[in-house]
């Protein structure tokens, strides 16, 4: 890794456990570029992840890190944000983590619309556990578990996010590092729940969705795309001939959850305990 003087740089000795050629490397660069562009202070940023290859990403940046359980990044991120609204909270995890084990939290994080950026490393496979189908695996891909090919319809994260009125919905491809960086920067800057699904080839286990495949199967959103039109965004999200890249939908009008939650305006760790007076007043109700 590069100069430790850069704000997010890890020591040169850091051993990155990803395979050579993996899309995660480029995605990491894009994230780091976005963070640097936004001039976020590492001490005020928390990266939250689950478990998987993707979920190792926060280990490779000098930032606060909550590397929690497989599938459970989002609830942890919620707790962090509610406990200290001054923190910038970014979730980075895999497609299996966020849409499989963690599918329920994905739904309800969007419903809450707390200020978080969800970066899904979507390699359409379970990488760390050596190549089983993930929720986004395409039909018919064979694996040691899906010996007859994947039978399930792929999970459509963008369509589901739109169905739940997520206010920021985007797709990127790690191969387009510049676009990815720009989208992620905008997503982190956005106040509210921003969903960014990033195509990221797993060069070891996914022999179907390769760099080449992604290049061939992605395109830009049409010129006339109106990113304030949810139904139009949905139409683009339904596409499977080619997968459009870019910001599908953006709605700046939804209030964030933490704005609505009455307590917790100042960081909870600074909050003094209940005064004895207030405490005794509460007891009086039981007289």
């Amino acid at each position: 890794m590069d100069s430790p003087l850069e704000p997010f740089a890890m020591p040169a000795s850091t051993d990155v456990a990803w395979c050579p050629g993996c899309g995660n490397h480029m995605l990491l660069k894009a994230v780091r570029g976005a963070l640097e562009e936004l001039r976020i202070e590492p001490e005020h940023l928390v990266m939250v992840s689950g478990i998987g290859q993707a979920a190792k990403a926060p280990q490779y940046l000098k930032v606060n890190m909550f590397n929690g359980l497989h599938g459970r990044a989002l609830p942890a991120a919620l707790g962090i944000k509610l406990a200290n609204r001054n923190l910038t909270v970014v979730v980075e995890s895999g497609d299996g983590d966020l849409y499989g084990e963690g599918g329920n939290h994905f739904l309800h994080a969007i419903r809450r619309n707390f200020d978080v950026t969800i970066i899904a490393h979507d390699n359409m496979i379970y990488g760390l556990t050596k190549g089983q189908a993930s929720p986004t695996s395409r039909r018919c891909m064979t694996t040691p578990v899906q010996v007859g090919g994947v039978l399930l319809e792929p999970f459509n994260p963008l369509a589901v996010a739109l169905a739940l009125d997520a206010p920021f919905v985007a797709r990127a491809f790690a191969g387009n590092i510049e676009q990815t960086r720009a989208i992620i920067a905008e997503a982190i800057h956005f106040k509210g729940c921003a969903v960014v699904d990033v195509f990221q080839p797993c060069v070891v286990f996914n022999k179907l969705n390769t760099w080449q495949w992604f290049r061939e199967h992605t395109c830009e959103l049409p010129e006339e795309h109106d990113l304030s039109d949810r139904l139009m965004a949905m139409q683009q999200a339904f596409r499977s001939d080619k997968f459009p890249l870019g910001i599908f939908y953006r709605n700046d009008k939804r209030e964030t959850y933490e704005e609505l939650v009455e307590a917790g305006e100042s960081p909870l760790f600074r909050q003094p305990p209940a005064s004895d007076e207030a405490f005794r007043a509460m007891l009086d109700a039981f007289r």
């Binding site: 509610l82 760790f269 305990p273 405490f279």
Partner: protein
């Protein structure tokens, strides 16, 4: 006159939706004003309307914290009352019910009480329960005025008409009640003159909630589950006043992970649930152990397995709490038995979680949570619980090795450092490691705190004179009250008691206090297998000679425990 001059027990029965709760909530304050000691507990079905629920109110000469089987006065709003409660009636029980609906079991003890007529006269069927209150007040010889003021207050928001209907209903009942022949009228225990001024009346749920607020809890995320939900509601109602962030999670897994996220960021966090929900929190418990992040988990026990009896009571989840979560890590488990213990142990739970950076469980049950009794405000002490947090510097390492295995805890955004926690095995920086040596050190680090936890464990409460006794009856959690009263009634110096309000780790003096194997040990538990007896065996080597167990979903009554202890005591002397 009732059997026990010092102890009068009333039971109010009705279908869900018939307002039995209202009866209790009207009677209790009035009786309290009269200076009586009160205890009340509730049993109800898992339905919103219909069925048959009941509440017991005991009026006693001294403070009691247990239910009795014996019913001195039964007020039945449904015909199910007889079938469900008849075994608890005695020859002189006063039974108030409507003959027309009561069914075939009508007998000389029954007093035909036309509550529906009174209700209709007063303004509608919903007022039956208030008429019932009137009847009872009259029978107990308490002036109706003590209640009417209260009725006015309670229903003021609903408009004058409703207030008047209520008062009318109470009056009609009262007029009926006063006619009861004097020889059937009970005599209440003497009101205690030194009933302290600052006594508070509440249920166990409120006591736990008060404990949490006393400790400075400022974050709760939970998914509703009976009987754990009450604590969530208690805190939600006071969230604004006390700056508590309240979030209803999508499921229990989210709840504990959000709690851990919040705690990582510096909140004093808790979750509340019941056994089934706690099952889903196991991986989160394990995570708390691994990342050394404090969290308080309240488990309101109810009978399992699976959905079981959702509104009933049991102490069947001790084993689960002891071993929840895969892998090995330190934890502490409290199990309060009184309002005071609930307030105290909930504070200790936060304190222990913070100081030892571990998950801490508070194990209650439906019975304890719903039972109402009193406590002196002066007896409520606040522990000073502080989030044990340091300001970080550039060199900060979340898992720095120290002698006692506890590393100073930083939080993100406080200081110049970086705070990393990792569910993988990690190094001092909190970064993932595959080193066997680091693993060895970290395992030892996480477990070392168990020694101090053990040293600090709460000593069991001594009841009577265990040194002189040959038999020691042991209880934990909600059974303290019933054991105390049964021992008092037994009044046999050969039997003493020990009550545990912390069940893990066990106080190191346990073996000694239990007589080191030289005494006969009887363990009382609301479960089918004797989970605490097993734990005592494993930890102290002492084998319980007798297990008094019950897993029907009902709590023990004083009579039951008395009977069993009498049996044991006789067995001993012969």
């Amino acid at each position: 006159m009732q059997e026990h001059p010092d102890d009068f027990s009333m039971v109010f029965e009705g279908a869900a939706g018939q307002g039995v709760q209202t009866i209790t909530s009207l009677l209790l304050p009035v009786l309290r004003k009269s200076g009586h000691h009160l205890f009340s507990c509730t049993e109800y079905m898992s339905r919103i309307r219909g069925g048959s629920n009941s509440t017991e109110i005991r009026v006693t000469g001294k403070l009691r914290r247990a239910c009795v089987s014996r019913i001195d006065l039964l007020l039945a709003l449904t015909p199910h009352a007889y079938e469900r409660l008849h075994a608890r009636l005695h020859e002189r029980t006063l039974i108030f019910a409507e003959k027309e609906t009561f069914g075939e079991h009508w007998d000389g003890r029954c007093i035909d009480t036309p509550l529906s007529r009174f209700a209709t006269e007063a303004g509608g069927a919903v007022y039956s329960n208030v008429s019932a209150v009137g009847v009872v007040l009259a029978v107990l010889g308490i002036p109706l005025e003590r209640c009417t003021a209260y009725l006015r207050e309670q229903f003021a928001s609903k408009g004058e008409a409703v207030v008047e209907h209520n008062i009318k209903a109470a009056q009609l009942g009262y007029e009926f009640g006063v006619q009861l022949s004097a020889d059937r009228k009970p005599t209440l225990p003497e009101p205690s003159p030194e009933q302290p001024r600052d006594s508070l009346m509440m249920d166990g749920t409120s006591a736990l909630g008060i404990g949490a607020i006393a400790a400075g809890c400022n974050f709760i995320c939970s998914y509703p589950m009976s009987p754990g939900t009450g604590v969530l509601i208690f805190l939600a109602a006071r969230a604004k006043n006390f700056g508590i962030v309240v979030d209803q999670a999508e499921d229990e897994i989210a709840a504990i992970n959000a709690g851990l996220g919040a705690s990582y960021a510096g909140a004093l966090a808790m979750v509340t649930t019941s056994g089934g929900g706690f099952d889903l929190m196991q991986e989160g418990m394990s995570l708390a152990g691994m990342i050394e992040t404090p969290i308080v988990v309240h488990i309101g026990q109810r009978p399992g397995p699976a959905t079981g009896l959702p509104t009933r009571t049991e102490q069947g989840d001790l084993d689960l709490a002891l071993h929840a979560g895969h892998g090995e890590f330190a934890r502490a488990i409290y199990a309060p038995g009184t309002l005071g213990e609930a307030i105290d142990t909930m504070q200790r739970a936060f304190d222990t979680a913070q100081r030892y950076q571990i998950p801490v469980v508070v194990l209650s049950d439906q019975y304890l949570l719903d039972a109402v009794s009193t406590i002196n405000a002066d007896d409520i002490e606040r522990l000073s619980v502080k989030p044990d947090i340091v300001e970080t510097d550039k060199e900060y390492k979340r898992y720095a090795f120290t002698e006692d295995g506890l590393s100073p805890r930083g939080v993100p955004g406080f200081g110049a450092g970086i705070v990393r926690v990792d569910s993988d095995e990690h190094d001092e920086d909190g970064l993932i490691t595959e080193s066997f040596e680091m693993r060895r050190l970290m395992v030892a680090k996480r477990l070392r705190r168990l020694e101090a936890l053990r040293r600090e464990a709460l000593r069991p409460t001594v009841i009577g004179e265990p040194n002189e006794a040959e038999i020691i009856a042991v209880s934990w959690g909600s059974n303290r009250g019933v054991l105390e009263e049964a021992l008092e009634r037994l009044d046999d110096r050969c039997v003493a008691g020990l009550h545990y309000s912390q069940v893990w780790p066990l106080a190191p003096e346990s073996a000694g206090m239990l007589g080191d194997g030289r005494k006969k040990i009887v363990v009382i538990e609301n479960n089918a297998q004797g989970q605490f007896a097993n734990l005592l065996h494993r930890e102290t080597g002492i084998v319980a000679a007798r297990r008094i167990l019950k897993a029907t979903g009902e709590p023990f009554s004083v009579e039951e425990i008395l009977e069993k202890l009498t049996e044991v005591a006789h067995g001993q002397s012969t």
